[in-house]
Symmetry: none
Amino acid sequence: MPKDTFINLPIEKQEKVMRSAINEFIKNGFEKANVGNIANIAGIAKGSIYQYFENKKELFLYSVKWSIDLLLNKFGKNLVLHDKEMDIFDFFYHTSKNSMEQIREEREITIFIQDVFLGKYDNLTNESMSYITNISEEYLLNIINVGKENGSVRKDIDDHLLILFITGVSFKIKEYLMNKARNQGEDIIDEDYEQYEKEINALIELLKHGMGGK
Amino acid sequence: MPKDTFINLPIEKQEKVMRSAINEFIKNGFEKANVGNIANIAGIAKGSIYQYFENKKELFLYSVKWSIDLLLNKFGKNLVLHDKEMDIFDFFYHTSKNSMEQIREEREITIFIQDVFLGKYDNLTNESMSYITNISEEYLLNIINVGKENGSVRKDIDDHLLILFITGVSFKIKEYLMNKARNQGEDIIDEDYEQYEKEINALIELLKHGMGGK
Amino acid sequence: MPKDTFINLPIEKQEKVMRSAINEFIKNGFEKANVGNIANIAGIAKGSIYQYFENKKELFLYSVKWSIDLLLNKFGKNLVLHDKEMDIFDFFYHTSKNSMEQIREEREITIFIQDVFLGKYDNLTNESMSYITNISEEYLLNIINVGKENGSVRKDIDDHLLILFITGVSFKIKEYLMNKARNQGEDIIDEDYEQYEKEINALIELLKHGMGGK
Amino acid sequence: MPKDTFINLPIEKQEKVMRSAINEFIKNGFEKANVGNIANIAGIAKGSIYQYFENKKELFLYSVKWSIDLLLNKFGKNLVLHDKEMDIFDFFYHTSKNSMEQIREEREITIFIQDVFLGKYDNLTNESMSYITNISEEYLLNIINVGKENGSVRKDIDDHLLILFITGVSFKIKEYLMNKARNQGEDIIDEDYEQYEKEINALIELLKHGMGGK
DNA sequence: GATGAATGAGGCTTCATTCAT
DNA sequence: GATGAATGAAGCCTCATTCAT
């Protein structure tokens, strides 16, 4: 969706532009994001942005795509459930740790994408992004089915609702991690991580056995 | 927070202004929300808005407060856990039904408030709204403690994480209902409600016993 | 076509705006005409222009209408052929003198309208202005028919071609006068007018009897 | 006026560039004419335009010159009055037919040049083009004098006014033909031409004997 | 207090021209 | 000499806020 001019740029320069845009978007939202700022921080001329993208909206949309691609490339390999016999809660544990890494290494981008998924920028993404939701639903569906087959997931509940349940909880986990990330800036120390791990394990326990007494 | 001029207005006129503002905000977001539109639809002059509120931001902030107050007045009584012996999952069931009613009767306002809580409008609400989160956390904390005392909630999990767990799931439920509301417009029929009720019960079952197999 | 805000303005202010716009358009053409300049010279804020008109194009289009209306009001009475027995060449003589007056008293506006008719601004006026051409053609048609009836115009030539002939010559006359006006600025002296009158009479003679020898 | 780089180009390439420029100018006028478009359609790089011409204005000015030269080369031979005894109205007839051919064979360029003469592009051509008017005035002057000498033109009217009269009418004829050309596109059929010829003869008759009755 | 016109800062976008390859 | 990406000035338009009635 960007013009060839952008595609032909050296990858590093593309990256600089995208990161600058993403930063501006998470700081100011779409409307107040300033194309001039984006250009300045990327170290290019304002006009150049328009040689790369049709307009601000396209720049935004591509920022989303670029972010998702980057996250998938960098962290996506861990998201595949290889072992059909694996307890899916173990799997959740691994993906959660993966999230932590993601946040540690790509704070801005992870925040940006979470915002997109949370529905800030609604008006912009709704049309073009619904397919993303579909992808992630299918992905979860697959995991649930594996779980149902190998007995780690109860079979009496509709898949659809299980997805709701899982995404609800995992979103909350991510949000929780994210808020810490937003506020703390870069300096998340190891001690924090130990704490997080405990909490994640507790939440997975809740996912598994619920919060009911006795 | 609005000026006295606004407070002195007949309640119906105040309401007209607030609903007009809320509608504009959910349709266009804060930046693109148009003060002129708000005034027109409220049936007043643009200048009057500035006799009532310092500026657009204050109008927004008061829209949030006004919405919360309205929802609490209209639906809040049901949110209080009167009976210390009540199973808190029964309580969840009742509050969920409450949500459904809320959505049916005050679609715009419920959507608006959900958007606020979801973090669209971040930059605007963060400071002033953190107290709201606190309120609702305390509210949940109280329920959890009641549950722990009467045995309907397990005791080995940190309150804090239980809150995360509950809000994650219940948010997802609301979001789910809300999306239907957003798309369907007014016409939610009884048949739909039966369906919703089943789903809510299933989700509460998950909250209670988890999704683990066996 | 302007907004009510403009219509409600005191006539003098409207006039100031229109004359400022017209001046800018004849000086710089449509594309290079600067809305800021127009506002400055009219003594109003740039934004006000947009309270009066949807955009620059509408401002232009209304400038045309306003100019035509003004010219018709101020000079149009003389353009009506009252006496059916009048020799139409006498009538041409009178309208030519009328033109001279027009140019003397409303230089800018006359120049502007001539430019419009000459087809500068084509892209802007074509659609909306074709009706004007029609009006003036019908007007001439009427005069020609009167002439044919009372014998002052030969009957063996198609009306359509007579119109071409007349407009060709009269346009050239106007253009000739206009160029002088453009270059001389305000100071056309009486002596010039005597000269013009002679020339006009000679051209009317040509219209009447042609340039053929013997 | 173009740089040597352009002059050294193969004629066909020069022609491609010029025709592309001319097309853009008649389509969009000078201000909105897009140098990038011109380059694209000419099949060269945008930067190359600036190796050939100092700037857009020079490109425009040379387009005018190139067009006039082309028309003179291709159709100009017929414009010379060889036979001193020729009736100048016969001569007009021939030049009119010549115009028709010109329009048929070089529509764009003829339209472009007519626009230039009509005064669109005023600000650009005024200085540099006044010499062209002079040329064509002298050219007409010569014809008129021949006519006065051989008796085909009356002698009691000032040369200057005769020029006005002739150019007025002949411009109108050309404009008339041109408008048909603009609207019809390429497909002017022979039947049309017969019609045109009749009309031209009638107009020449008017030039000769005028439109006066009796 | 209500009105709605006036204001002007601010931002996106265009595109002629320059520049590096 | 050719290319096409980079540049940045310039201008239209929006709209929150102010002001005069």
